[in-house]
């Protein structure tokens, strides 16, 4: 019996492992089958069959084929689906095995799987399909990953560090390319006397090779850095560099490829290259921005057809990428620019469901793409024609490391003169160590023409070795190194409303100080850009009321929405399921009035227990009725259909209702309102939705018309009597609005008398604040349709 118990917890990962093995063999066997069915012959036989049946009635009639096999028609989609399925099942498998994913990064495991599959295919004697075909890679596999990165790019840290990122991306990559290319050429030339292959290597192909191998790869960086959770600054530096160095890579690659045939590069070509760099980079960004604005503008009108909103985001972005590729501009930069530009406007326009759809589709596609890329790398390694040359490969690997380190250290020395938050040695180490190479380098190498570059095979072998080295060695060791060096990790804490308020406050403060100093620094320009955005751009691109919504309020609504959803998902407990279980509620914060030395205060201690219970019951039942009335008001008038117009306004209204609901259920049985008699409370609640329309506020206390004609339950009359004698003495308590009337005098113990009554009533409410079981039931009803 104990043995059985022992086995139970282990069975899941073991089963997972078994499943993996079965699947790998399955895939491995089916794929060669697919490759084996040579399309020509089967096609011929089919044609032949057709011919056979049509050539005349007197030819021998074959029996009707009950079951026929026709694989070639579906071959390509079938194989693609098989690969995708394999990739996803691998991903599933890795997460079932608990310890594996914490030791080895996913990318390594996937490459190993690719190697296995490739090996199996080769063993089966079939030809490995050219999976990492450059067209497939650049047009299908890469865009989802980049779009995911661009759409969710954290704009603020990116912009703050843009100078640093550009330095690393442009100058760093140039340095790497020329250093590696140059030194490799030198090494190739000084090879010992026996004419080795390397003597054939000319300068230009070397430089081309250098430019291919020098670029940091976004896919690999994402895959590895995702798992190590380092702080935002380092993440954005390395990741931003990997994205922006695409322009440099494109220009260098085309430049050297173009002229490698000719053999020389003149100064004019160099100058043209520099100009070309600016055209490629800025052109890419411009193309992306144009498509981004188009997408934002389109999303303004989608309120009637919510279902296809995500489609616009995806299609416009993909078009931006393809358009940039037409002109040999930087497609990656176009995609990033498109995503980053369209996001704030699109998010203000689309429905909540579309937002979730976009998020999940992007994550799904990028995840599958990434997995496929690594598997294909493994397969291509097994397949690819290899030409191993010890000198070349080892020198390349060493040079890559050395060049990276020198580049980072040198650049940081220069950059630190201009940065406020300087980069420490630890930071530099992580940046240098995080410079991983990946599939882009391989695909670029694959694209090379064999005729122009006789050393292509050697290049490919070297590229694959470098990729394996960086992904396996650097990828696996970076996590322990990060722990060892105690590098600052990402802060897991959620963005709080206080931080948001103070971020905005700081922005304005620093802009103000800059203005006082008379200095036009970034804050000044950022502020100008924001005002331009608010005044002109938002009006064009955002539909309806949302265009005027300031950022703080948008943030607050988002936060409330999230909390409300959490509340519903947690089954509607009394407490908010926050990270810090806390008993603090709104009542603890409201300004306190000092206890008056008045007899009426004795209402509180003089209540006998039985009476208290009765009052509690009365209050609870009254509130329930109110709440139900409130909700029915909700359903019939507020919520028509989420897919109809003005949903965003509904959303705002709904969020406010949610806020009210929350206050009601979580904080007190009576809402956090100024202490009025229960009648007033109920009356106010019933008329509340009207209160949320935009009304000019005369002074700090909003006045709300109390609808005294609302039906009052007979029970409440007794209660009213209780307080009437107290209430009569303080008539001015009655016209308070939703919020507490601010203490008009100086704070401290000398509060004016009329506030005493308010506090006294509040105290009564507090002591009876027991939500009771029935309050919870109401919470379970979803208040979002």
């Amino acid at each position: 019996f104990p043995a059985f118990c022992h086995q139970r917890p282990c069975s899941l990962p073991e089963r997972g492992l078994l499943l993996l093995m079965v699947l790998v063999f399955l895939e491995g066997s089916v794929l060669p089958l697919g490759a084996a069915s040579s399309p020509d012959t089967s096609h011929q036989t089919n044609l032949g069959d057709h011919q056979g049946t049509h050539t005349g009635p007197n030819s021998t009639k074959k029996p009707f084929p009950v079951l026929a096999v026709e694989y070639d028609r579906v071959q390509i989609p079938f194989e693609i689906s098989l690969w995708v399925l394999l990739a996803s099942l691998m991903k599933l498998g890795f997460h079932l095995i608990p310890r594996l994913s914490s030791i080895v990064p996913e990318s390594c495991l996937l490459i190993v799987v690719g190697l296995l599959v490739g090996g199996l295919i080769k063993l089966a004697g079939e030809e490995v399909p050219p999976v990492l075909d450059s067209r497939l890679f650049f047009l299908c596999l890469l865009p989802p990953i980049i779009l995911d990165a661009g759409y969710f790019l954290p704009i603020r840290p990116f912009m703050e560090n843009l100078g640093t990122i550009l330095m690393f991306a442009v100058v760093g990559t140039l340095w790497n390319a020329f250093f590696i290319g140059g030194v490799l050429y030198g090494v190739a030339q000084i090879q010992p006397a026996n004419p080795s292959d390397l003597h054939q290597l000319e300068l230009l192909p070397c430089l081309l090779f250098g430019s291919i191998i020098s670029a940091v790869d976004p896919v690999a960086v994402l895959a590895v850095f995702e798992e190590i959770h380092i702080n935002e600054l380092l993440h954005i530096l390395v990741f931003g560099e990997s994205l922006l160095n695409d322009a440099v890579t494109v220009v260098l690659y085309h430049l050297f490829e173009e002229y490698a045939g000719v053999g020389t590069v003149t100064l004019l070509d160099g100058v043209l290259g520099v100009i070309s760099f600016f055209v490629v980079a800025l052109g890419g960004v411009l193309v992306g921005a144009i498509y981004g604005i188009l997408a934002a503008f389109t999303s303004r009108f989608t309120s009637h057809t919510r279902v296809i909103e995500p489609l616009f985001v995806f299609v416009y972005s993909y078009m931006a990428y393809l358009s940039a590729e037409i002109f040999h501009l930087s497609g990656i930069m176009a995609l990033i620019a498109c995503g980053a530009v369209m996001r704030p406007y699109v998010e203000a326009n689309i429905s909540h469901k579309s937002h979730t759809t976009i998020k999940y589709f992007l994550k799904m596609w990028s995840s599958v793409s990434e997995t496929l890329i690594f598997i294909f790398l493994g397969v291509a390694t097994v397949d690819g024609p290899h030409a191993w040359n010890w000198t070349f490969v080892t020198v390349t690997v060493i040079l890559c490391l050395v060049a990276r380190v020198i580049g980072v250290v040198g650049l940081t020395y220069v950059i630190n003169k201009f940065r406020i938050v300087k980069l420490t040695t630890k930071d530099q180490f992580i940046i240098a160590y995080g410079g991983l190479r990946g599939a882009i380098a391989f695909s670029l190498g694959f694209l090379l023409n064999q005729d122009h570059f006789p050393m292509r095979k050697m290049f490919l072998t070297a590229i694959i070795t470098v990729i394996f080295f960086t992904v396996f060695v650097q990828g696996m060791t970076i996590k322990p190194l990060v722990e060892l060096l105690a590098v600052k990790k990402k802060q897991e804490a959620k963005r709080s409303i206080n931080e948001e308020i103070h971020t905005q406050f700081l922005d304005h403060l620093l802009t103000g100080i800059e203005d006082i100093c008379g200095h036009y620094g970034h804050h000044h320009w950022k502020d100008k850009l924001n005002r331009f955005n608010k005044k002109y751009v938002k009006k064009c691109l955002i539909a309806g009321e949302r265009s005027k919504e300031p950022q703080l309020i948008a943030f607050y609504h988002k936060m409330e929405m999230k909390q409300a959803i959490e509340l519903v998902e947690s089954g509607g407990g009394v407490k908010l399921p926050s990270a810090m279980p806390s008993t603090v509620s709104m009542q603890n914060i409201q300004p306190k009035k000092p206890p008056p030395a008045k007899p009426v205060e004795r209402v509180l201690p003089q209540l006998p227990k039985g009476r208290e219970e009765e009052i509690r019951k009365i209050l609870r039942s009254n509130l329930q009725r109110t709440r139900q009335r409130l909700r029915s008001y909700n359903r019939h008038t507020l919520v028509a259909d989420p897919y109809e117009d003005g949903f965003s306004d509904l959303l705002i209204k709904k969020q406010r209702m949610v806020e009210l609901e929350k206050k009601m259920s979580n904080y007190l049985t009576v809402p956090a309102a100024p202490p009025d008699s229960p009648t007033m409370c109920r009356a106010r609640l019933a008329s509340d939705p009207q209160a949320y329309s935009m009304k000019p506020v005369s002074d700090s206390v909003p006045t709300i018309q109390v609808d005294l004609a609302s039906p009052q339950s007979p029970d409440s009359v007794n209660l009213l009597d209780e307080f009437r004698h107290a209430g009569q003495q303080q008539p001015e308590v009655e016209d308070q609005g939703l919020m507490m009337k601010p203490p008009s005098g100086p704070s401290g113990p000398n509060k004016p008398r009329e506030a005493d009554e308010a506090r006294d009533q509040q105290k009564l409410m507090r002591c009876l604040s027991d939500p009771g079981p029935s309050a919870d039931e109401d919470e379970d009803e979803p208040f979002l349709p």
Partner: protein
Amino acid sequence: MRTNYRWISDVSSCCCLCFFSVSPEQIKNLHKRFQQLSDNEETISRENLEKIPALANNPIRKQIIDAFFDKRNQHQNEVGAFQEIGFEQFLMVMSHFRPPTLKTTEEEREAMRKEKLRFLFNMHDTDNDGTITLEEYRKVVEELLSKSGAIGLEAAKAIADAAMLEVASTNVPHMAPDDFYEGITFEHFEQILKGLEMESRMHIRFLDVDTMTMRCGKSKS
């Protein structure tokens, strides 16, 4: 003219002792700006600052100007407000915005962070009772949203209430229903803004304060 430079050298020697990274050059630049703002007089008043046209669009303009005239920011344990301030006081306020350098030690960073947070706290705590009450916090949020019309005012109260609730829940997680959270004390304020790393965020680039880019406070720019 000579008196000015002599005065600057006195000030700068004292300043170099007190403030870590405000160099004599930066002080000279700031002095030039001070002269511009004050019409070459010894002191500036609120009107001088209010005349800066670029500040007109700033929603928290009043608080910023008040901060310059707040005695608490002079680190001399006084309270109240000045009517006019001299260059020394101006510089003292400006020194709150200096950035840390590579040589700043951990303790110095802590001290810097406290100093900057204290500056922010003083801006919010207008009645100087050592706490930011709900009313004062509401005022802060209202001012921030003051350029957004009626929507802003309605939401400001809710936002301030939620923010206050958050501070209370973070710092005093278990309060009985009858307890009352008086207001945000300086310790709670520090705690709640720990994540923002004030010492690196709250700074302006003094180095680039260049007379070429300075605008005269009174010109219509």
